[in-house]
């Protein structure tokens, strides 16, 4: 008798555990970059969006390359990414529609305080040339992300090729903060978006081992945009919800939230949606 009861109870427990929890009424699936998630911006954006529209925002944080791939496979409804050239190609190929610019920050080149290659205050291209000639360790994302695309473009503009196998060129294949941490361990330089760097600074209570050495160069502008997945190619995507999100994040309410998002008193992203 007792055995039967225990058996029935455990079956009941198994069933409750494996049943899906409260079915969400409406939700939107977004693929985005590691920078928007690692900095904590989405933890502010998502609840506010849900409060206004009653739509739950779910996101998976991957590099821009992977995010675009998930979009091509119809696995997400909307993208928040930062690689304008790749995005334009994505739209030309018919995968996405309704791209809107949302916000920007800028990329910075960071490195050890001692600055062994002496790049402080240089232009981005000159800094990379100096790093190469000194063979100072440079840590690359190497993951096809927006930041990685920007980095490759800068090497190209500096006319530096074939660095893939150089000993001083380290490719991590990981997210931005991980890559910064690896750069710190190796006393190396790396390219990062300013938002993630501020998060890194905050992790080290404002006194991190790596500091900004190159900033303010026109070339280092970093634009984030939202893109809806094209419902003609992917009939199952929640296109109407995606449009609502795009409308909301480019509205005064969404833009103000982005502007007000701060770490250690510093603004991480500057809203710039066109009116």
């Amino acid at each position: 008798m007792r055995k039967t009861l225990v058996f029935l109870a455990s079956i009941a427990l198994l069933l409750t555990l494996s049943l899906p929890s409260t079915a969400a009424s409406q939700y939107l699936m977004m693929a985005t970059t590691t920078s928007t998630d690692n900095t904590g911006l989405l933890n502010v954006i998502a609840p506010a969006f849900e409060k206004t529209t009653k739509i739950e925002l779910r996101w998976t944080a991957v590099g821009t390359g992977k995010a675009l791939e998930l979009g091509k496979n119809c696995d997400v409804d909307v993208l928040l990414v930062h690689a304008p050239d790749k995005e334009k190609k994505f739209i030309e190929e018919g995968y996405g529609i309704n791209r809107r610019e949302v916000m920007y920050n800028d990329f910075v080149i960071i490195g050890p305080r001692t600055d062994p290659a002496g790049i402080k205050g240089l232009k981005a291209i000159d800094a990379l040339k100096r790093i190469k000639s000194k063979k100072a360790p440079f840590v690359s994302r190497g993951d096809n992300s927006g930041t990685h695309s920007m980095e490759l473009e800068l090497w190209k503009k500096a006319n530096i090729t074939n660095i893939d196998k150089e000993e001083w060129y380290i490719q991590t294949g990981q997210g931005m903060l991980n890559t910064i941490n690896i750069a710190a361990e190796r006393d190396g330089y790396t390219l990062t978006d300013r938002g993630t760097f501020i998060k890194y600074e905050a992790n080290h209570n404002g006194n991190p081992p790596l500091v900004i050495l190159v900033e303010g160069d026109q070339l280092l502008f970093n634009q984030y945009s939202v893109i809806a997945i094209n419902p003609k190619r992917c009939p199952k995507v929640k296109y109407d919800l995606a449009l609502k999100f795009i409308e909301w994040i480019t509205s005064d309410e969404g833009q103000k939230l982005i502007a007000d998002f701060r770490l250690m008193g510093k603004q991480l992203f500057v809203p710039n949606a066109a009116r």
């Binding site: 996101w59 991980n178 941490n181």
Partner: protein
């Protein structure tokens, strides 16, 4: 050094302060691992029994295959399952990507060879005379088979515990299929990967301690069952 100490303190703080994000990851891990291990055991134990008990042509080849599958890397399983359940894949219409059942499929593939292989070994290890004696005493084939399985129950339980440990500690499948979505598919292991990525080492260590506490509980439970039996 400091952050290791902070991590241990942090673990207790997170658990005692009932931090909702931590509890959500723990709950997700529990639900997911229960679902995958239940399915695995339902399929795996009978298969393992058949493989261990009966002799048939090609048995050794099947054993070798199952033992080889023990080495399947989680990222390969993740990639395979993704290819099938992506909306562009053959099972895309089911909408399993980024859901707990989707991850459970991957974990099922991960854990099944463990259960089959260890159950088969357990059954093979039982004295064949038991089966033969039971048969001569007039037991049906089914009765004799079940009885000899009962003899191997501890070894089969050990197989289940081993598979469970593998399931709760894996991160590749959970990350690729689950997508580490906050409040939904964020498990303890994907949360650790995320926190480490964010440079929040103490949070990562704290969650690691929670995971170990889980494994300890499961093992204590099994060993106390064994002592009572």
């Amino acid at each position: 050094m400091n952050y290791i100490f902070e991590g241990v303190i942090g673990a207790f703080y997170l658990l005692l302060a009932k931090d909702p994000e931590t509890y959500s990851a723990i709950w997700t891990t529990l639900r997911l691992s229960t679902l995958s291990i239940t399915c695995t055991l339902i399929v795996g134990i009978p298969l393992g029994f058949l493989l261990g008990h009966y002799n048939f042509p090609g048995k050794r080849a099947v054993r070798t295959l199952v033992d080889t599958l023990l080495a399947l890397p989680t990222v390969v399983i993740g990639l395979l399952v993704y290819a099938f359940i992506s909306r562009r894949g053959p099972l895309g219409d089911l909408g399993l990507l980024f859901t707990i059942p989707g991850v459970a499929i991957g974990q099922f593939i991960l854990a099944l060879p463990i259960v089959v292989s260890l159950t088969a070994s357990a059954i093979e290890g039982i004295d064949p005379k038991i089966y033969l004696t039971l048969r001569t005493l007039g037991a049906s084939d089914m009765q004799a088979a079940l009885s000899s399985m009962w003899e191997g129950r501890y070894a089969v339980t050990a197989a289940a515990v081993t598979a469970y440990s593998r399931v709760i500690s894996e991160v590749g499948v959970s990350m690729m299929i689950g997508g580490n979505i906050k409040w939904h598919t964020r498990t303890i292991t994907t949360a650790i990967a995320l926190e480490t990525g964010k440079g929040e080492f103490s949070m990562g260590i704290a969650l690691g301690i929670v995971l170990l506490a889980f494994a300890l509980t499961a093992n204590t439970l099994v060993s106390s069952l064994r002592r009572r039996a």
